[in-house]
């Protein structure tokens, strides 16, 4: 690790990696810079440039000022909506996925592979195709235009991924462990709580990050099944950017994007190192 010699090959590697990183980060840099420039500054100059003076007002406007139609409360209420949908849906879908993944991997029963296959099939169904069935479900349950409806949708749809993740992780757990516990008289749920769950943190981190990011960034269901004050933050962001016949509000948009990206960014920073570890766990036996 303390190899300090700079062999040409090493310099080349650093150079390439830095270039890739720069290309990858350039859009972020543009967003950060534009979040500190006024609209006129951007319109009268170029999309890419240093702020002439720091326009922090963009952040204030993004947080609590800009209007989505009649409501001028900025991004704040929509952030709350997103949190109210994302947090429960992430927790429910992760827990249900863990139980289901455990059931189909360690409790062999008739048709278990079929159930697993059908559940994970959901991954391949395009969102648009599921829109009408969900409409009917929400209509019949009376949950149209509610955050509860969104929580249910995201919990159920999330199962496709969470079951896949957890099942693939749990198949690596030796069957003997389960058999021994059963001989000791432990049932399905006792084994889950006492043996499986303590072994699960790496894969749970993966599913939490995955679900959180997906649900937080989801737009289609959010905009279709909620109205006005109930909408998630993605809808507010699009509202800011979709004014066709108007000059795009680049400054406020950029600031709003930065704020809206914070929760997912935090989740990654906290759980990131477990993410790759969890994903690759069980990949190589």
């Amino acid at each position: 690790m303390r190899d300090r010699t700079f062999a040409p090959s090493r310099i080349l590697i650093y150079l390439i990696v830095s270039l890739i990183a720069a290309a990858w980060l350039a859009p972020l840099a543009v967003v950060v810079l534009n979040s500190l420039r006024t609209n006129q500054e951007i319109a009268q100059g170029s999309m890419i440039g240093w702020p002439q003076h720091l326009a922090w007002s963009n952040y204030a406007a993004a947080w609590s000022g800009f209007c989505v139609a009649e409501t001028c409360a900025g991004i704040r209420p929509y952030m709350l909506n997103s949190a109210l949908v994302t947090i429960p849906a992430t927790i429910f879908s992760t827990l249900l996925g863990a139980v289901a993944g455990y059931a189909v991997s360690l409790w062999r029963f008739r048709g278990d592979q079929w159930i697993y296959g059908i559940v994970t099939l959901g991954i391949f169904l395009p969102q648009q195709m599921r829109l009408l069935p969900w409409t009917i479900v929400l209509r019949d349950t009376g949950l149209m235009n509610t955050l509860t409806g969104l929580v249910i949708i995201h919990t159920i749809q999330g199962l496709s991924f969470t079951v896949l993740f957890c099942r693939n992780y749990y198949v690596a757990i030796p069957q003997e462990l389960i058999r021994a516990a059963r001989i000791d008289g432990a049932g399905f749920f006792r084994i889950f709580w006492r043996i499986i769950l303590p072994l699960s943190p790496p894969i749970l981190v993966v599913t939490v990050i995955w679900q959180f990011t997906h649900i937080w960034n989801e737009f289609l269901y959010g905009v279709t099944f909620t109205t006005g004050q109930q909408q998630p933050v993605t809808a507010a962001l699009i509202a800011l950017s979709a004014a066709v016949a108007d000059i795009p509000q680049h400054g406020v948009q950029s600031a709003a994007v930065m704020i809206a990206a914070l929760p997912t960014l935090l989740i990654y920073l906290i759980g990131g190192k477990y993410f790759v570890r969890g994903l690759t766990a069980g990949a190589v036996k």
């Binding site: 609209n39 006129q40 319109a43 009268q44 100059g45 170029s46 999309m47 800009f66 209007c67 989505v68 139609a69 009649e70 829109l131 009408l132 409409t135 009917i136 929400l138 209509r139 149209m144 737009f219 289609l220 905009v223 279709t224 099944f225 109205t227 006005g228 909408q231 809808a235 507010a236 962001l237 699009i238 509202a239 800011l240 979709a242 004014a243 066709v244 016949a245 108007d246 000059i247 795009p248 509000q249």
Partner: protein
């Protein structure tokens, strides 16, 4: 038959007599309420519909507007979901031939009586009126109009070209572009790179060459017209325009290059009337540019119509029905149309609104005058680039061909004609 009055009859009769005034009172006292969905959530669009809502409330109504952020697809998803859930909004934004298509999905309100009471039909462009009464009855109301083929001229580029005449025909236009080029204007045509942007260059070219061919080929999809010489001439004109554009502009919003346009680095822009508001909000002045109707080879203005509208969905609730009537009256009201257009920079649908007063820009006056002249000479046609001439699927098929042609200069005009005709055939 002897008339016998039983006690029961008497009771029923008096009950009815007692109930009558109460019923009438309930009808009169019902507070008009309107549930509306639109995609106007931000900027001047959001401000305009908010102002409309205020007027609705001033008239004693309850205004419940749900903006659907995003573009047409998102709004249609929402609309479909609400219709399937049995809860359509009392009215929703919808435009062009989609009005006819969607009116087959759920029952709409017959607005004929309200429209007749307002004397509205006489003051609306005939092609536009047709769109809003697909089955012969008015079911939707246009709200504001933009022309998609306005010509914006950069004052500084005009100076560089030592030109002061506004081009009228495509020949004038091409001359001016050449002069700009030799005068040092890097790109005589300012461009964005979005699909509607490319589409506008084609529709402006064809309609400017022959509005009759445009109506036959693009609006009526006449096979012979689609393969006719005017289409080839239009593609040839589009190629000239494309050669004067900056090829390094990707799929960008036209506003990205406004500074280059005002600076005289780019010379002319073919864009909708809304670009005035965008220029103003970007901090540029009216002295920086000139606005005129797009080129027309017969000298009379050609107007490519883009109109936003509301469609009204059937509801049983008396308060929603009252709200629909009130909304329809407001949308057709000259004062409301004035207020709305002054906020967004469009022009009123009514051709009898006077635009001479304060609050109107020179560009809006010119646009309104162009519309009047174009209607008089039957040269007001529907924009294909902005989903007015065809349903979405057909529009997409056409724009695919056009946008590829603009960007791929190896395609020859005659090839483009064949491709366009084939795309139309395939999308039918």
């Amino acid at each position: 038959m002897p008339i016998s009055i039983t006690r029961r009859h008497l009771l029923a009769g008096s009950a009815a007599a007692l109930a009558m005034p109460a019923f009438a009172r309930a009808q009169g006292a019902v507070k008009p309420r309107l549930t509306a969905i639109s995609q106007w959530s931000a900027g001047s669009d959001g401000a305009a519909i908010t102002a409309l809502g205020k007027k609705f409330e001033e008239k004693g109504g309850i205004w419940q507007h749900s903006p659907v952020p995003g573009f047409t697809t998102e709004m249609m998803n929402k609309l479909r979901a609400q219709i399937i859930a049995g809860d359509p909004p009392a009215c929703s934004q919808l435009k062009g031939p989609e009005i006819a298509a969607w009116s087959k999905i759920a029952p709409t309100v017959d607005l004929d009586a309200v429209v007749a009471a307002a004397g509205y039909e006489k003051v609306v462009a005939p092609d536009l009126a047709k769109l809003h009464k697909p089955g012969g009855k008015w079911i939707a109301l246009p709200l504001q109009i933009y022309s998609t083929n306005m010509l914006f001229l950069s004052k500084r580029a005009m100076d560089k070209a030592k030109a002061d005449k506004i081009p009228v025909t495509w020949a004038d236009f091409n001359d001016l572009a050449e002069k700009m080029k030799s005068g040092g204007v890097t790109y005589p045509i300012a461009n964005g790179g979005t699909r509607p942007d490319d589409g506008q260059k084609f529709e402006a070219s064809l309609a400017g060459i022959s509005p009759a061919a445009y109506r036959a080929a693009i609006m009526n999809l006449d096979k012979k017209a689609l393969e006719g010489p005017e289409i080839k001439a239009a593609f040839a004109q589009v190629r000239k325009i494309a050669d004067w554009m900056d090829p390094n502009v990707g799929a960008q919003h036209f506003s990205t290059n406004l500074k280059r346009f005002v600076d005289g680095d780019m010379g002319m822009m073919i864009m909708g009337g809304w670009a005035q508001g965008v220029l103003r909000n970007a901090g540029f002045k009216f002295d920086d540019f000139i606005i005129a109707p797009g080129p027309s080879d017969n000298g009379k203005p050609v107007f490519l119509l883009n109109a936003d509208a509301f469609i009204f969905w059937q509801r049983k609730e008396p308060d929603l029905q009252a709200g629909q009537t009130l909304m329809a009256q407001l949308v057709m009201d000259p004062a409301i149309q004035t207020m709305y257009s002054q906020i967004t920079g469009s022009i009123p649908v009514r051709t009898d609104v006077d635009l001479s007063g304060d609050g109107w820009s020179e560009g809006q006056r010119r646009t309104a005058a162009a519309l009047k002249d174009a209607i008089a000479s039957n040269q007001a046609v529907l924009s294909v680039a902005h989903n007015m001439a065809q349903e979405n699927g057909m529009t997409a098929a056409m724009i695919d061909v056009i946008t590829e042609y603009v960007k791929n200069k190896t395609i020859k005009p005659e090839q483009a004609v064949t491709r366009l005709a084939e795309a139309v055939e395939g999308a039918r």
